[in-house]
Symmetry: C2
């Protein structure tokens, strides 16, 4: 389950390295793709050993946010968290786009519909996550193993064919690249290609987030899984790059590099065709699963931020199916926005990608190093050496990515992350200030004496049973003063009401008419109540009769002036708004009333 994100990136990492090189140096690119892949595999190795340390140290949850917060403090944790959150969004956008690319590599006609298909994937994944579909291990295991098998089969057959001389160069379309033009191979270009391959590293941190999900002893099993996954990832990444090099596969807009390799390796026979479709199908599936992983990670990480009062509280709220619904919605909207903005094009998304995850790698490893220095547990020197190297290497890679991809789009992330961190800190200050205000002296405040006077104010729009209910309830409250007020937008109606009121046996309780020629009823109500609470010693209860309709559509036949009055009165302290319900029976269904109508006595 944790592997899909990391493994899936092999579906586009080699291709992105080639896409960086080929336009500049032509066929010379094929000589560099393998060394660059090996360099990246080296980074992967360092990361794997670094994360072995993290898993042991944080057996419950060792995500970058927790590790950084624990060792470097809240502010660096915000940076690590936000960087990772942006990367989760990009994971969804990139994985879904690459999944759609796998699809249209098999069915070319679908290419024109890539944006709607990608959006449909996002909607389906989001829906599944909102429903809280329990991710059974099998649901993840089957596609993951299928992908591994099909990839290893492809690489294996490729090696065999190459050894027996059966593997030919792909037909390089002459109009696609300037063959042999070969510009100069600068160090910047190589670093840029290396940075493009960095996308393959995302997902490595996934296991450290979810150690408790493993069988006992958790941290040991998690470590083994990490090593196996890392090995698979490394082998596949190297294998695919080697095949791309050997076959001279040129990235095209119509067919992914993997698809071209599959075609070349499996040949054009019936069996070859079937295997080609299997590769495309498993690739698509693993990519969609990878996107799904972000739907678990993003909301959880966002809830960590929110728990620490750095993000809106709503993100901590679990729906009754226990998923963080708001985080899921936020992620879907952001990823969908990226898919639309970049037209589901992996190559255009890649420059924004990876910088976030490497930033969080760096902070997390630096945090681990600080931890070793602080705790000095057994073997801390080895640990420090490993995590220190990890922090250094990932830090260098982060800088390389930032510089080489800057123009291509990384600048956007480099602007966005600090801005978001600033906003989060601002938000945190607001929450803390609110909390201070709300908790300061709260316990003593519960025993504050009641206010000197209690006035009940019944706001009437007409004289019907709902108004009668409000009057009855008003008397229940036994206030010091009872007022009935009608805000008169229509003077004629007010006169009628006054006349009707005169016939009632409520002489000590006269109806006041407040003229409201401008029809701003809520404003007029606010003025009446403001006057009443002005002395600061009066508690006012404003009663709003409310007709409750049994059927949904009946509600829409009536305006909701009482709601706007309640909203307007919200600005006044000690103005307590009460809705007094009166239930209209449905003409054809009386059984819906949950509780029998009360008798007065």
């Amino acid at each position: 389950m944790f592997a899909s994100d990391a493994l899936s990136s092999t579906a586009y990492a080699s291709e992105e390295i080639l896409r960086t090189l080929i336009p500049v140096v032509g066929l010379l690119a094929f000589s560099f793709v393998l060394p660059i892949t090996l360099a990246m595999a080296g980074v992967l190795l360092i990361l794997m050993f670094s994360y072995r340390q993290t898993i042991k140290a944080y057996p419950s949850a060792g995500g970058a946010y927790i590790v950084t917060k624990d060792n470097l403090g809240l502010l660096p944790a915000q940076v690590a968290g936000v960087a990772l959150l942006t990367d989760y969004i990009l994971t969804v956008a990139v994985s879904v786009s690459a999944g759609v690319a796998a699809l249209y590599s098999a069915f070319g006609a679908l290419r024109d519909y890539r944006v709607p298909i990608a959006l449909a994937f996002i909607v389906i994944i989001a829906w599944g996550n909102l429903r809280g579909v329990r991710e059974s291990g099998r649901m993840f295991a089957v596609p993951t193993y299928a992908f591994l098998i099909s990839m290893f089969a492809m690489i294996g057959v490729g090696i065999y064919s190459a050894a027996t001389g059966g593997l030919h160069h792909a037909a390089v379309p002459a109009d696609h690249i300037k063959l042999g033009v070969g510009g100069s191979v600068g160090i910047f270009l190589l670093l840029h290609a290396f940075a493009s391959g960095g996308a393959a590293m995302t997902g490595v941190e996934a296991i450290s987030n979810g150690v408790p999900a493993f069988k006992k002893p958790e941290w040991k099993n998690a470590r083994s899984t990490l090593m196996v996954m890392g090995a698979c990832l490394g082998v596949m990444f190297i294998g695919i790059s080697w095949l791309a090099m050997t076959m001279h596969v040129v990235p095209s807009d119509k067919k992914t590099v993997i698809a071209q390799i599959a075609t070349g390796v499996f040949g054009s026979g019936t069996v070859g065709h079937v295997l080609f479709y299997v590769v495309q199908a498993t690739t698509m599936l693993i990519l969609v699963l990878a996107a799904n992983t972000s739907f678990a990670d993003f909301p959880r990480l966002a809830s960590f931020h929110a728990d620490d009062h750095f993000m809106p509280k709503q993100l901590t709220k679990r729906g009754h199916r226990l998923v963080f619904s708001n985080g899921i919605v936020l992620l879907s909207v952001a990823a969908a926005g990226l898919v639309i903005l970049f037209q589901a094009d992996v190559t255009h998304l890649i420059p924004l990608y990876a910088i976030g995850v490497f930033t969080s790698f760096t902070l997390s490893q630096a945090g681990m190093s600080v931890r070793h220095l602080r705790l000095r547990e057994q073997g801390w020197r080895v640990g420090l050496a490993i995590n220190g190297t990890g922090a250094l290497v990932t830090g260098v890679v982060t800088v390389v990515i930032a510089i080489t991809k800057f123009k291509g789009g990384a600048w956007a992330i480099m602007v966005l992350v600090p801005v978001l961190v600033f906003l989060l800190v601002r938000l945190n200050r607001q929450y803390e200030s609110e909390k201070d205000q709300l908790t300061e002296g709260a316990l003593e405040a519960t025993s504050l004496p009641v206010l000197r006077r209690h006035t009940v104010l019944v706001l009437l729009d007409r004289l019907d049973r709902s108004a009668a209910r409000a009057v009855q309830y008003a008397r229940t409250l036994r206030p010091d003063e009872l007022r009935a007020v009608h805000i008169a937008a229509d003077p004629e109606l007010a006169d009628e009401l006054l006349e009707e009121w005169g016939t009632l046996p409520l002489s000590k309780f006269p109806l006041e008419i407040v003229a409201c020629p401008d029809r701003r009823i809520a404003r007029a109500a606010l003025e009446v109540v403001a006057e009443e609470v002005a002395d600061g010693r009066t508690e006012v209860t404003v009663l709003l009769p409310r007709r409750e309709y049994q059927e949904f559509w009946h509600r829409f036949l009536h305006d909701r002036t009482s709601d706007s009055i309640a909203r307007a009165l919200g600005v006044l302290p000690h103005a307590n708004v009460t809705f007094v319900p009166y239930h209209l029976k449905s003409s054809h269904d009386l059984t819906r009333v949950l509780v029998p109508a009360p008798d007065a006595d």
Copy 2:
């Protein structure tokens, strides 16, 4: 002001007659356009005299709805009203579309943008009406006179040129029509062409709606205006049809018939060009004004329906600028829908048009006839003869329109109107049933004794100053029983709360914890309160602490569970929900608090 609607229809009536005839009979059409126009002018004459009667009988407001309701009853009035309402919507769609046609006849490049331009017109008119722009007489008078002058000038110059032999046939584009093919001229075709010209009659009823707006003696001035307007309309309609006939103007998609006539009559000199643009500009203006007239008529008529409880009450609600905002919005949305559906094409809209207005003419004239028979006032025999003839003729025209335009789209109106009337009657029954329930015994109910018990239930989510406020207020109410309840979605939080509560000096007032493992807090609250009111003799006041934030955006940082609780409790009788406000101060602006914070004493 009242004339724009009626006069403006000359901008497209002749063209629509030709469009019906030419595809079937080719050039022969030009022999029939004038006779058909004259027949329609005859109908106009009858209508004018009929409405003279109405204006005298209903000097305050004599629209079809009022006249029909007064004489034939509420149900026929619904038919007349709904028919007229659909026609008002069509008036907006047709007028705006024809206005845009006048625009792109002058500036051909705008044709591709006719739908957005038409929608922009609707938005601007709706916005002006929502703002309640006071329609000064001059605002209407200037474009109306300008239109009259330019039309009469065009017709005058046309007659002069024809007399002096200077008026030539327009170059008939050979590919546009099968010249001389001339199918047989059936009676159905002629009636169909006649029906297409019927659109010119809409707006004739406008004056009878607004008699009180005239100078004293209102009904006399209204009558004179009606006759002058009718005469102008008749002369212009006949004049334009005559010119179209004389010049053999073939309707085209690029240039309206009026635009072609203007080009032909004024020639291609500089003066001719200027005059052509003047004609197009005044035509466009009068059409937009005609659409504007519907924005006064539709909301008023809808409010009549709503006043009689046949349409949602919201339609009677005037904004504080005294306009029926909801009616305006409804009309705009419906007209915009039609413009989009029919791509701002007048010819496709025309089959739906006119059937509504003729239905209401018929009912209104029939109503007048009944009135004469009933009241038998002086001269009732003449009146009966006039209105009877009016009813008969408009009835026949209605049938002709219904039959000849049935396939073209009139069927939609013939389905829609009865369905709408059925829904309106259904709605009316609902309103009446509600009214009965609400008013029956309402006066007596005001003196019902209060219920035996009053329980106050404070729903707490945490223990802060807002909760303390709620407790303070709860004690103000001096209830028979006071309960503090916490719905516990999180058991840990509940334990903390319970512990804090234990430290409070409120020993006689224990905190109850209601477990809510499924996190459906509103549902759990409903169950607690339902139990409390179940005996039917208890009045429950549910207090919901509500933190009121000073700044708009602070509000979005918190969820609104209390709102969903209040909504859920709406189903329970005698469950009165009170929001107890606690005001958080803004960190940088304390002056916004309207009323000073109260001191407790």
